[in-house]
């Protein structure tokens, strides 16, 4: 009897069928590709393009600062350059590139055929590409934002930034972050549900852990800045005064919201890079990572602590000393988990024998530069020191050491390390060493003098400086270093042009003799069969694994359902649960992304009618895209090997789509919590605009009571529909549709009653920050209700089309979950908006 799930020889034609199902579309259809390898690679390439573009802006700024009193770039253009440099590096390079590497490598590392929502990955990529290019293009029309990458009001309010420049940032970045959240949801579900059988959490590659933590952080951090951009755009477009002190707003509210996102953002960037290093170091030393579990602990702890640090960007804003001390202490505490990882890498290098390859050099460079950046981070975590160096070039030096050391060097290491998986030949060792040398020297020559010039008092964001300040030579040195960095990047790009030969059939393979699954022979469909994992480095522990996988001895060696499919496993033990039928290439995700991007961009330049038309088309494309999902049990259960017969469809909490919906609701909840914080914050700083002080009449209790009743009726109606769906064979489909329709009406009524309740009291959003916040809570709730109603109508349409049955009900279950959440948030909103002023004044 064989020890493998499937016997050899495999049936004739099985492999050819697999290849045909997964092949790349030809001609213009190539744009419809959704395979993670192609999308991931395009994602990485686009991120590198933005890296180069933002780098060119940096070079121009360095040229301007090379000598005192320079007039190469005028002040306004310089403001646009540093704003775009920071924004593009953070939003269009740093986050997307690690997300891209995740999309590219995670399925291979987990031996999955693809991620569970490939069209969502494609949507996220196209939205990012189109939105990013238009955003960057604003620079050529003088429309680029110029308020700094953090866009602090009041500078970015209409008074000081009356043009469209700030709107480009607010709408563009909000849109790009939605794309990042889509990618994060894909990654979370992919990691938790598509791992190879046997790959328990304890055997998961560290990079997968890092990406899981990264994606989780995105869910909780990004909503804060999405809310901030939403509020500032409301203020700019409709004069809702969230940040205007004269009307009870506070510019510091923006800083709180921005940095609640902005500081975790640093770790959102760093943790995946650390995950890459944790994969590269064992491969280069030939020994397993020392302290695997401690590294996992460090990743999780860093994520948590990073949410307690945001005020250390605001030490100079006049916050009470004890509050500052708490954030200062937390900023020191976060160094401990970071230190754990550094010691783990050093110990692994000490335990094995490090081969000084190009990836190793970049890892060593990363360690040196990141540790220096970390140490200056501990310095600026001290309030007295930070007060001296705040807004000086010392901070510029610190953040570049952290970001370049902590993220750019690992990404370059990753490029050199993982290229052999995708390319017919590895990159050049000689060019790689040149690239590393130039980058390492360049980074230190550029940024080390900035510590000194910062301590000498040179402020950030100045476009020139007078001669007598003594800042000349450090600036000249920094400019020379910047060109060395550019040369290093250029050498790497030349290396890629000369040596990167993309292939899905004959890659260079496991040139480093690494032990993890991404080094299995991968074709266009991923691995031929899905192995059973019994250790963290399966390729080291089973010398024949690659051959057995390629021969089709393991699970799912063919296309059991005749289409694209991958194995869904349980989140902790990775036990096979069902076979997921994955959608293939489609224009829909591309067109949906294009129209969504057009909607946001046209809205920014106030072309409302074309924007609405594009919005409608985007919704139509999304409906067309979703219509093909939720296929139901259209195929009998399949034998994937070892007599393991799996269903091809499940619904409810076992379904991967349910997990994605839960992740989405966490995003909504985070946004709501940020809004609640904003409400409380403005109340603490400006109680004089709250009803107790102004005498503003509150709606009588019957209004919120009616609204709450309507919301609850919505929830009950949806629950009734669920019951009726289970008995649809008995009672037919109409009670289901009626229940959903009633729920939609009730939810809409609840939101409208709440709106009318406040409107009839004479409260208006532009009156003061209290009014603005009350209507902001209503606006957010209305958004949720609109989506819930849309989902409800869509579910009714599927029912009418015969696509909703007691078994085929994933769409309904997701709608149900979303409606219940909408009701829960609605009730909480009512409690805050009506209860708080009555209790607290």
């Amino acid at each position: 009897m064989s020890d493998f799930p499937n016997a050899l020889p495999r049936p004739k034609g099985e492999l050819a069928e697999l290849e045909a199902i997964w092949k790349l579309p030809r001609g213009p259809g190539v744009l419809t590709v959704v395979n993670n390898t192609y999308i991931g690679l395009a994602y990485v390439a686009t991120a590198l393009l933005f890296f180069v573009l933002a780098g060119i802006l940096a070079l121009l700024m360095r040229l301007q600062l090379a000598v005192p009193d320079n007039t190469l770039i005028d002040q306004g253009t310089y403001n646009q350059f540093f704003t775009m440099h920071g924004t593009v590096m953070m939003f269009l390079f740093a986050v997307p590139v690690v997300e891209a590497v995740g999309i590219l490598l995670l399925p291979q590392m987990q031996a999955a055929r693809d991620l569970p929502f490939p069209r969502l990955s494609a949507f996220a990529f196209w939205a990012y590409l189109i939105g990013g290019l238009f955003f960057f293009g604003s620079l050529f029309f003088g429309l680029a934002p110029d308020g700094g990458w953090f866009m602090y009001p009041p500078l970015t309010g209409t008074r000081y930034s009356p043009g469209d420049n700030a709107d480009f940032w607010l709408v563009g970045i909000g849109f790009i972050e939605i794309s990042a959240i889509a990618g994060a949801i894909e990654i979370i579900v992919g990691i938790l549900r598509t791992r190879a059988p046997g790959m328990t959490l304890d055997k998961m590659p560290v990079f997968a852990w890092a990406m899981l933590v990264f994606a989780g952080m995105i869910l909780f951090a990004f909503p804060a800045v999405i809310l901030a951009t939403f509020l500032l755009e409301l203020e700019r477009a409709f004069q809702w005064p969230f940040f205007i002190p004269d009307k009870g707003g506070d510019p510091l509210l923006w800083q709180h919201l921005f940095w609640f996102f902005g500081h975790p953002e640093v770790y959102i960037i760093f943790l995946p890079a650390a995950g890459m290093v944790s994969m590269i170091v064992p491969a280069m030393t030939g020994v397993p990572l020392v302290g695997y579990r401690l590294v996992v602990v460090a990743l999780v702890a860093t994520a948590f602590f990073s949410f307690g640090l945001w005020v250390h960007h605001m030490f100079a804003t006049g916050i009470p000393e004890l509050s500052l001390a708490f954030f200062s202490a937390a900023s020191v505490a976060v160094a401990v988990p970071s230190g754990i990882q550094v010691f783990s890498w050093i110990a692994t290098i000490a335990a094995g024998r490090l081969r000084l390859t190009v990836p190793s050099l970049f890892v060593l460079g990363f360690l040196a530069i990141f540790v220096i950046g970390g140490l200056t981070g501990v310095m600026v975590a001290m309030v007295p020191f930070d007060l001296q160096t705040h807004d000086t070039y010392f901070i510029v030096a610190h953040l570049h050491y952290v970001l370049i050391g902590g993220m750019v060097f690992p990404v370059f290491a990753a490029i050199y390390h993982w290229t052999p998986i995708l390319s017919a030949r590895p990159l050049s060792e000689r060019l790689g060493r040149w690239s590393f040398g130039l980058l390492f020297v360049g980074v230190n020559v550029t940024f080390f003098p900035m510590h000194i010039v910062g301590l000498m008092g040179m402020p950030r964001r100045v476009y020139t400086y007078p001669e007598q300040m003594g800042w000349d030579w450090p600036n000249l040195l920094s400019t020379a270093g910047a060109f060395a960095i550019a040369a290093g990047v250029l050498v790497c790009l030349v290396d890629l042009a000369l040596n990167f030969r993309f292939t899905t059939t004959g890659s260079a393979g496991n040139v480093w003799r690494a032990g993890t699954l991404e080094w299995l022979p991968n074709e266009v469909y991923g691995t031929r069969s899905i192995p059973v994992v019994s250790s963290r480095e399966p390729l080291w522990d089973d010398a024949n694994l690659a051959e057995d996988v390629r021969a089709g001895r393991y699970f799912l060696p063919g296309a059991s359902t005749g289409g694209r499919e991958t194995l869904i496993t349980s989140p902790i033990h990775a036990d096979p649960q069902y076979l997921l039928q994955i959608p293939g290439p489609s224009w829909r995700s591309l067109l949906a992304a294009a129209f969504t991007a057009a909607f946001f961009l046209l809205l920014t330049v106030k072309l409302v009618v074309p924007a609405v038309a594009c919005g409608v088309l985007a919704v139509a494309m999304i409906i067309a895209w979703l219509w093909q999902t939720d296929p139901g049990a259209n195929h009998p259960p399949v034998d994937i090997g070892d007599d393991l017969v799996l269903p091809v469809y499940v619904t409810g909490p076992a379904s991967h789509s349910w997990w994605a919906m839960v992740a989405l609701l966490l995003v909504a909840a985070s946004l709501f919590i940020a809004l609640f914080f904003s409400y409380l914050y403005n109340w603490t700083v400006s109680p004089q605009v709250w009803p107790a002080a102004t005498g503003q009449r509150l709606p009588v209790a019957s209004w919120p009571a009616a609204s709450a009743t309507a919301f609850m009726v919505g929830s009950v109606a949806m629950a009734f529909s669920g019951q009726m769906l289970a008995r649809a064979r008995e009672y037919g489909d109409w009670p289901v549709r009626l229940g959903i329709a009633c729920a939609c009406l009730a939810l809409a009524a609840g939101a409208l009653i709440e709106l009318q309740g406040h409107w009839q009291t004479g409260l208006r959003p532009a009156m003061n920050s209290y009014g603005a916040l009350v209507y902001a809570v209503i606006a957010v709730q209305c958004q949720l209700v609109a989506v819930a109603v849309f989902m409800g109508l869509y579910t009714i349409a599927r029912s009418a089309a015969g696509m909703l049955t007691p078994v085929r009900r994933a769409t309904f279950d997701n709608t149900l979950l979303f409606c219940h959440y909408t009701v829960g948030q609605g009730l909480l909103g009512l409690l805050i908006v009506h209860g708080f002023p009555r209790i607290a004044g």
């Binding site: 948590f304 949410f307 937390a330 989140p571 902790i572």
Partner: protein, 111 residues
């Protein structure tokens, strides 16, 4: 093969993240109390007392969690969940460290 359902996953997730969650709640409470208390002119001694009480409560909860983790370690199955358990223990210890660091701030910084 029987997998762990979402309910089981949430249980494991919460047991793993219990320590950091306690730290996060503690941090939010002391920051909130100092922020609100300062804004509304509460007595500094009252704010400090509350912050100390929160610190002691968080510290005690984390120590209890560590003790419980150690006590129940033997009964956990050796594969996946045991690793989760170990990770949970380390995370709790780190969270305790973070709470102690915050207590240091309480000790030395005037309100």
């Amino acid at each position: 093969m029987i997998g762990v359902g979402p309910g089981g996953f949430v249980r494991y997730l919460l047991s793993m993240l219990a320590g950091p969650l306690i730290w996060f709640i503690y941090f939010s409470v002391i920051y909130g109390v100092v922020g609100f208390g300062g804004a509304f002119g509460f007595a500094p001694s009252g704010i400090r007392l509350f912050a100390w009480a929160a610190t002691l409560a968080a510290g005690a909860a984390l120590i209890l969690l560590l003790w419980y983790a150690r006590r129940s370690r033997a009964s956990i199955e050796p594969k996946g969940p045991r690793a989760v358990h170990e990770v949970a223990g380390f995370l709790t210890a780190l969270s305790l460290f973070a709470v102690l660091i915050e207590a240091l701030a309480l000790l030395i910084v005037p309100l």
